[in-house]
């Protein structure tokens, strides 16, 4: 049996707070995976050409005939008050929904420009919901860069769904945070084996089939960036299960075991289900651990998954942590993860990208986890990189995925070994 949360020595990571230029996406980017999770929903950004260009650049939109997200681009007329922006928005939404009758939920997504001009999207959402008479539910949230980073967009989208979740005190396990469908199925079947039958997910696969929430709900966070959502669920009576996040064998095991404990499942039964997974997961990890062990890792702030990934890569893959960047630090949601980091780990919150790059150059790590804007420039300086955006698109949760997750980090290093030009 591996080291569990209880065995971990308490540690206090060194925190470096930084402010300056941030090389991080804004919350609009979350649309890229949210729209895939809920195929009956449409995400309409109310913003500028920059917003449209950002989402398409991040998503590689061109493969879709008509994607389930788009941008209502504000024009000069809207800003000058020549056209009533609300009327314009209503017209545009009517046209859109006429063309896309399959859409059941429409998210109006606020952006930096819509926030700055104080376009009231919550009133627009109410107005449109009543206009569509129940056929389509119109919700709103902000994905603006002035308020959200990258994955916080999902937090806000889930918060927008919250008022529509029915109240119920029935006992259930609620997994919160987008998972790949196959990974979700796997977790549900593992919990069933442990005797937890009522397992639901937020966001659900269909936007209209929202799980209930209430006193019997035990919330298990699948993603580490859902601060607002988890607090709102607690305020509706749900109980938050404290666990590390399900990355790697150990994290996934502890995550599932924490849920089982919350439901009072007999530890022997939990072990019977999880031990074979842990054993198999470790076998899958072994070849990648050979590549990663002893290598020095620097994580730039990006998806908010940096701390759990650093924990996985240090504890299970033997990597040495040079710096663990995170866009913001939610100590409550990260409590279990921080406790598992080697003591004295340098954690940095926020970003001043030039200074951080100076630290990268000074430390010469073996691998830097960073966004696409930084990856090739660092490679050109001779530093191996792993693009962080792949981590939000790939199925990486769970014991069965631990090997794949490690492989994502081992690949750039193996590739460097493979290439010779002399």
């Amino acid at each position: 049996m591996g080291v569990s949360v209880a065995d971990a020595a308490p540690s206090s990571p060194e925190l470096l707070k930084q402010s300056g230029q941030r090389e991080v996406f804004c919350g609009l980017t979350s649309i890229v995976w949210l729209h895939r999770r809920m195929p009956d929903a449409f995400f309409l950004v109310v913003g500028s050409r920059t917003c449209a260009h950002l989402v398409q650049s991040a998503a590689g939109v061109m493969i879709f005939a008509e994607p389930r997200f788009g941008t209502a681009i504000l024009g000069e007329r809207d800003l000058a008050g020549l056209a009533d922006a609300n009327e314009e928005l209503d017209r545009l939404v009517r046209d859109l929904l006429e063309r896309r009758p399959e859409i059941r939920t429409l998210f109006l997504v606020g952006s930096c420009p819509s926030e700055v001009i104080k376009l009231d999207l919550s009133r627009a959402a109410e107005r449109l919901t009543s206009q569509f008479n129940g056929r389509v539910r119109v919700l709103n949230y902000s994905g603006s860069g002035i308020e959200t980073t990258f994955t916080q967009g999902e937090d806000n989208a889930l918060l927008a769904l919250m008022p529509l979740m029915p109240s119920s005190n029935e006992s259930q396990l609620l997994i919160v945070g987008t998972l790949a469908d196959a990974v979700e199925d796997r977790f549900v079947s593992l919990f069933a084996k442990m005797g937890i039958e009522a397992v639901r997910s937020l966001p659900p696969r269909r936007s209209t089939e929202l799980p209930p929430v209430g006193k019997g709900t035990k919330v298990l966070l699948a993603q580490p960036f859902l601060s607002g959502t988890s607090r709102a669920l607690v305020s509706r009576g749900a109980e938050l299960i404290n666990a590390p996040y399900p990355f790697g064998v150990e994290g996934s095991r502890d995550w599932m075991a924490a849920a089982a404990a919350a439901f009072g499942v007999d530890p022997a039964r939990v072990a019977a289900v999880l031990d074979p997974l842990v054993e198999r997961g470790r076998r899958a990890l072994a070849p990648h651990r050979q590549v990663l062990e002893g290598k020095r890792l620097f994580l730039m702030p990006d998806s908010q998954m940096e701390i759990p990934l650093a924990r996985f890569l240090s504890r299970e893959c033997g990597m040495e942590l040079v710096e663990v960047g995170t866009p913001y630090l939610d100590r409550q949601l990260m409590a279990q993860e921080l406790a598992l980091l080697p003591s004295g780990t340098q954690v940095s919150e926020g970003q001043d990208v030039e200074r951080q790059l100076e630290r990268v150059r000074a430390a010469r790590p073996d691998l830097v986890v960073c966004g696409l804007g930084l990856a090739n420039p660092l490679e050109a300086e001779g530093i191996a990189t792993k693009w962080s955006i792949e981590l939000v698109f790939s199925p990486i949760h769970g014991c069965d995925q631990a090997g794949d997750l490690a492989e994502l980090f081992a690949r750039p290093l193996r590739r460097r070994q493979l290439l010779t030009f002399s």
Binding site: Q21, R22, L28, H53, V61, V116
Partner: protein
């Protein structure tokens, strides 16, 4: 307010980034919120740049808005100047910063920047787009740097032929190439070589690879070559007005345009006369032999018998104005294609595109709505699409081969090999890249003929399908045996069946995108008509089908039998 699912051009500040990133020694301070740094990845990923674009963002957040964002701008400018020591500084804002009206340019003007030239960029994000932003930035930068050199009004224009008196070779500037432009890197090399062969030196290439100090030398050239009008037009016009620098405006893409370009530039510089004088007297030793159209293989390849099958191929063209207009001319005149659609997203250059379309008897499609382009493409029933990356995807959905001729780009449009579009080698590249997808189309058809695997038919075919999209999905009898793709049974007498939605996902896109004309008169093929059609070799069958259906529709013939087919054949051979 306008609904956009996808956009051909980014906002204008991305155009400004293209200028800054293309040059050396220029830094751009952009007042912008968190998230706008996404634009860096266009350069580092699509262009595989080995360094970040020289842009510093203020990345303000909501909590900054309550406080002093102006102070944040000034601090960011001061830090960037100190860190990067630029030779020229651009200061501007993105869409959100425009709304808070901090006026970063004015703030920068009030700062001590140690004497470096500063350009305040005013790029209206809610009315303009990327190419405009690039052109405006280039123009403002050049104007700022050269203001002091502008001769007083009334100064006589310098003669573009003064090099003869000054005892040197003539020299020109190549203006407009940028990062994220289409094949600019290789075009510059090709045109530089071509001009060298004609005894013309290149003074300055800008923005690509230029430093601010190079821009100061622009007026020393005898003429400007406006290589990419989308970016360089306003700069060229200003240099013409202010310094009397004449502009060579022919864009040398294709054989005839390259010849016209050489004619224009040699005439302007007085090289024709000089060459004549030289050849009448002594031969000029050391002067390399000039190349001509015969230096390109395109004319011969196009005349060679193998190319006969290219005759009258229906081609749909969409892109930026420069590349779309050039493609239309090459397609119609140099390859013998039939241009069935021409359009552009470049509203600033719409006039040129309209004129080119009119010459071909077409109405130009000027739009930035890719769905409108896809619909026009489907309606035109092309056999080849020449477009941007988006048209490549649309063509894929319609099952039509495609070659990319214009921005917006994907990483594959920045090839490792030398692949210009301009000049003689550019014509070679164009011949290959436009004709190869068609060859593949033929191969695909062979595969379609001979492979009968169930899973192959059921949605696993590659993007190059049977032919033109207006063709009913079940047009080929090979597929009719395999129900999945044959969702539409064309010989069925009941109209209800004829429009029944295809069950297979693969066919749905085609069905919904069918030309609307099918709704006007419901056409049916009789069994003998169908049988006769299938005696025709497969590679011309779709064309015969289309021609026959057009013939039948024009005459109100609803049921096409063998006789109709032969009537149509006779009619069309006149």
């Amino acid at each position: 307010m306008e609904l956009t699912l996808w956009t051909y051009e980014g906002p204008p500040h991305v155009g400004a980034m293209r200028i800054a990133a293309s040059m050396e020694g220029v830094h751009y301070v952009l007042h912008a919120p968190q998230g706008d740094t996404y634009a860096d990845l266009l350069f580092t990923m699509i262009e595989r740049r080995d360094r970040r674009p020289p842009v510093t963002y203020t990345t303000f957040q909501a909590r900054d808005l309550g406080g002093d964002t102006a102070e944040l701008v000034q601090r960011t400018i001061a830090d960037a100047v100190q860190r990067f020591q630029p030779e020229a500084l651009l200061v501007g804002e993105s869409c959100t910063a425009e709304l808070i009206q901090d006026q970063p340019g004015a703030l920068a003007a009030g700062m001590d920047l140690g004497g470096i030239p500063m350009v305040s960029l005013d790029l209206p994000a809610y009315s303009k787009k990327e190419n405009w932003g690039a052109a405006e930035t280039f123009y403002q930068l050049v104007r700022t740097l050269l203001k002091a050199q502008v001769p007083p009004p009334g100064t006589p224009k310098p003669s573009p032929q003064r090099w003869q008196q000054e005892g040197r070779r003539p020299r020109v500037n190549l203006l407009g190439p940028t990062l994220l432009g289409f094949r600019c890197r290789d075009d510059v090399k090709e045109i530089t070589g071509l001009l060298q062969e004609h005894g013309i030196d290149v003074a300055v290439v800008a923005p690509l690879g230029a430093r601010p100090a190079d821009l100061l030398r622009l007026p020393s050239a005898d003429a400007n070559v406006c290589l990419y009008p989308e970016v360089a037009d306003s700069v060229c016009s200003w240099l013409e007005r202010s310094f009397g620098l004449p502009v060579v405006r022919t864009v040398p893409i294709g054989i005839s345009a390259t010849e016209a370009f050489l004619k224009e530039i040699t005439t302007l510089l007085g090289l024709d006369a000089a060459v004549e004088a030289a050849t009448q007297g002594e031969a000029t030793p050391g002067r390399p032999a000039t190349t001509t159209a015969s230096s390109s293989r395109l004319p011969w390849y196009s005349r060679s018998v193998d190319s006969t099958y290219l005759t009258g191929k229906r081609v749909f063209i969409f892109g930026d104005a420069t590349h779309a207009v050039a493609a239309a001319r090459i397609a119609s005149k140099e390859l013998g294609f039939e241009v069935v659609g021409l359009g552009s997203y470049s509203r600033e250059q719409a006039r040129e595109v309209r004129a080119a379309a009119k010459e071909l008897g077409l109405e130009a499609l000027i739009t930035d709505d890719y769905l409108a382009v896809e619909k026009a493409m489907a309606d035109a029933a092309p056999e080849l699409v020449l477009g941007t990356q988006m048209e490549r995807h649309s063509a894929k959905r319609l099952g039509v081969p495609c070659a990319v001729i214009s921005t917006p780009l994907h990483v594959q449009d920045v090839p490792a090999r030398y692949a210009p579009q301009m000049g003689w080698e550019g014509a070679n590249v164009i011949f290959d890249s436009w004709v190869h997808p068609l060859m593949m189309g033929l191969e695909e058809h062979l595969i379609g003929m001979f492979r009968h695997d169930f899973e192959f038919v059921d949605g696993h075919r590659s993007h190059l399908g049977d032919g033109a999209p207006s063709m009913t999905p079940a047009a080929d009898p090979v597929h009719q045996g395999h129900g999945a793709l044959a969702g539409v049974t064309i010989s069925a007498p009941e109209p209800a069946l004829a429009t029944a939605p295809a069950s297979a996902g693969a066919a749905t896109a085609t069905a919904t995108l069918e030309a609307p004309s099918s709704g006007v008169l419901e056409l049916h093929w009789s069994p003998d008509g169908e049988a006769e059609l299938h005696k025709i070799p497969f590679f011309v069958r779709s064309k015969v089908r289309r021609n026959t259906e057009t013939f039948a529709r024009e005459r109100g013939i609803a049921l096409i039998d063998a006789e109709t087919l032969y009537d149509a054949k006779a009619h069309l051979s006149h």
